[in-house]
Symmetry: C2
Subunit: 419 residues, 2 copies
């Protein structure tokens, strides 16, 4: 292979060119491409599974861990899921070209906004081959060209899928450059993407925290990123007991490895003695380890003391930090200081406390009387998500099609000049 830097930049140049074609593609053309891809994936299921078997064999030979093998493995069911996901994206409204917020100015100009694609999106991901399909489809539907840089473990699976994407594009009159898979899985190809702000408009990393942190720190291109999810449930003084127990139990135990899982439970001091024992019993049955603050330890026996690091830890495991707080203000100060600005929920019957919490907690999702586990694109009605942003600019929380677009200004005149 030629010089890697040069290869990545040639690919990105083709993507930029393809973007201008894609930005003007009709919704029908984009949908037809996605539907054909769904069919091609079904028709070529065996080729994809064979390529995936090769990847799994290599990964096992390298001694990669079981969790990674699990993320890498495709089955007939996961492949059917890819096609189903494509059909769901087809069903979503096309955001590109939507016009809004027009105002008539005193000089007769009509000034408003039009929703437009961002341009070229670089997706850097690890071992999940289904990201290849999801990311390509969301970018295509939102009018963006994309450059996919998957992990080396999934190389053969990704190549098999990319071949079908190219076929679907070309058969629908769209340029192959609209979706490119980088066929080099060295660190250098990632570096070349991160250093090309002239060609790539935004990078979206999808993977573990260390990957995302490295990309954010090295990128010269804007990054929409998802770092950790240290989510809280705060049981307010005015909480309904049953809702508090149900929500705190669900937010921790419905799944342990997801970013919207509660990692720290905060309880108002006036309710701790009543509610913590009820919850502790349920957590104990479920095998959740509790780590409590000093006041929690006076209420619950036989649990570990929390260390200062516990308040800043995303366990992704059946472990929960528990803290008794003096007040709503105390709870919010804890969340804003120790949380990751991902998702936080208050359980309360107090209108005023709910309003204060919603306004003052600086997180991508703030909730009242609901489990933090609802924070995802599907539950929010976005239909599909390319990730969950923990950034504060551009887009917060679940990122759907709109998050892959921006708005430009449209000025409609009839000959106006400025004096």
């Amino acid at each position: 292979m030629q010089n890697i830097q040069e290869y990545v930049r040639q690919t990105a140049t083709a993507a930029k060119q393809a973007f201008y074609t894609l930005a003007g593609a009709s919704t029908a053309q984009k949908n037809a491409t996605l539907l054909l891809l769904a069919e091609l994936i079904e028709q070529h299921q065996n080729e994809i599974l064979e390529a995936n078997a090769l990847d799994l064999e290599n990964a096992e030979a390298k001694g990669l861990d079981a969790a990674l093998l699990d993320r890498l493995k495709l089955t007939e069911k996961t492949i059917a899921g890819m096609s189903e996901g494509l059909r769901q994206i087809v069903a979503l409204p096309d955001p590109v070209g939507e016009m809004d917020e027009f105002r008539l100015r005193p000089n007769g100009l009509q000034i408003g906004k039009m929703r437009v694609p961002l341009g070229v999106i670089g997706i850097i991901y690890e071992s999940r081959p289904n990201v290849t399909v999801d990311a390509a489809a969301l970018c295509l539907k939102s009018g963006n060209a994309c450059i996919l840089r998957g992990g080396s473990e999934a190389f053969n699976s990704n190549m098999a899928i990319a071949k079908l994407i190219t076929q679907a594009l070309l058969e629908n009159g769209l340029p192959a450059g609209a979706v490119s898979l980088i066929e080099n899985t060295s660190r250098e190809s990632v570096g070349a993407m991160l250093q090309s702000p002239d060609l790539i408009d935004v990078i979206i990393p999808r993977g573990g925290k260390s990957l995302v942190a490295r990309i954010s720190s090295e990128a010269r291109v804007p990054v929409i990123k998802h770092l950790d999810g240290i989510c809280h449930v705060y049981i307010d003084k005015a909480a309904d007991t049953q809702k508090a127990v149900d929500i705190a139990f669900n937010a921790k135990t419905s799944r342990y490895g997801t970013c919207n899982t509660m990692e720290t439970l905060l309880v108002h001091q006036d309710r701790a003695a009543e509610i913590l024992p009820l919850l502790a019993e349920k957590y104990r049955e479920k095998g959740v380890e509790l780590r409590g603050c000093d006041r929690t330890l006076t209420i619950l026996n036989n649990i570990k003391a929390a260390s200062p690091e516990d308040w800043d830890t995303e366990y992704l495991a059946p472990v929960l930090a528990v803290k008794v707080v003096d007040s709503l203000n105390d709870a919010m100060a804890h969340i804003n200081l120790h949380g990751s600005h991902h998702t936080d929920s208050i359980v309360t019957e107090s209108y005023t406390d709910a309003q204060i919490f919603l306004r003052m907690v600086d997180s991508a999702s703030v909730m009242v009387n609901a489990s933090t586990r609802f924070a995802d694109g599907f539950e929010y009605g976005l239909g599909a998500e390319i990730g969950i942003s923990t950034d504060k600019i551009h887009v917060r929380g679940p990122v759907g099609l709109n998050g892959l677009t921006s708005q430009k200004w449209v000025v409609l005149g009839n000959g106006q000049v400025r004096s």
Copy 2:
């Protein structure tokens, strides 16, 4: 002074703390602060002018150029303008807390969005002391804490203004950390800001292209930036002659040094022979130098030939590149390749050509039959702007109060848990 890195981080830590107070401040409290500041500036006009005189003296002694001295210089009129600007910002609606887009989900959750401040905004600027007031006021009104790092030339002027800002904040019960002026004007203090993504949420550079380019390339913090304005007017085959002449003349000559000034004129080949001589005559009278493509040179005599660099140059001067194009597509390809995605306008009576141009030109502002000179916050009805973004994520074009905010998700439940 203590270690600069440490000093900047302490300031940013105080700003982050102040942000949480500010995010919950009422509109009335923020407006009262801005109105008091307007009064204080009027009352202390002489102190500001004396500090400014000292800055001017130092700048002259250092032999700084006339353009810089002009940007640095304050007068009674410019100081009155600061207070007037503050009162205009008071009159704007407060975006913070606005809720929108609520949808009822099948499980009974009400899910929508709330507009919220970004957090701590770092403003890095050069010699204009009025930026100190404008930036502080826009950040305050939008609920953001800000850290101002002005240029060394304006140090005394900025200190005099910052003292009044602190007084206005404290007298209205807001923390002094809500607006901090970095009292160190070395490169190192800029570096410390750029390397603090944990404390500063976004950096907005205001100044020349070299400052902005350096900041963008070094920043670990997201940047909302304004690079160059290589704006185009395209005179379409279906243009009205009078509108074409008026707009192309105005877009170049109403001011030369602004980013929304036209730098390249594109003319459809079928209209060039008719329209270019009319325009050339007007430009000649005004002293604008023309640089033409080969076809332009066959129509206009005595003008220079354009070199390839001319198509990529922001002159900010009475110079204009002129190119005859084959078609609308040719014009759009030129704009998307050579423009800076700032502001571009088509002159046409064709509905279809207008629609295609609006959709396919990838610029922050796209216009039909209007001078590019309208691209600014005041003309767009934003009331005031902190800059004009040439970025593609978060905000494009003139950045007003909304551009300094983001939207978080609000989820209103009544006990829902996820199955």
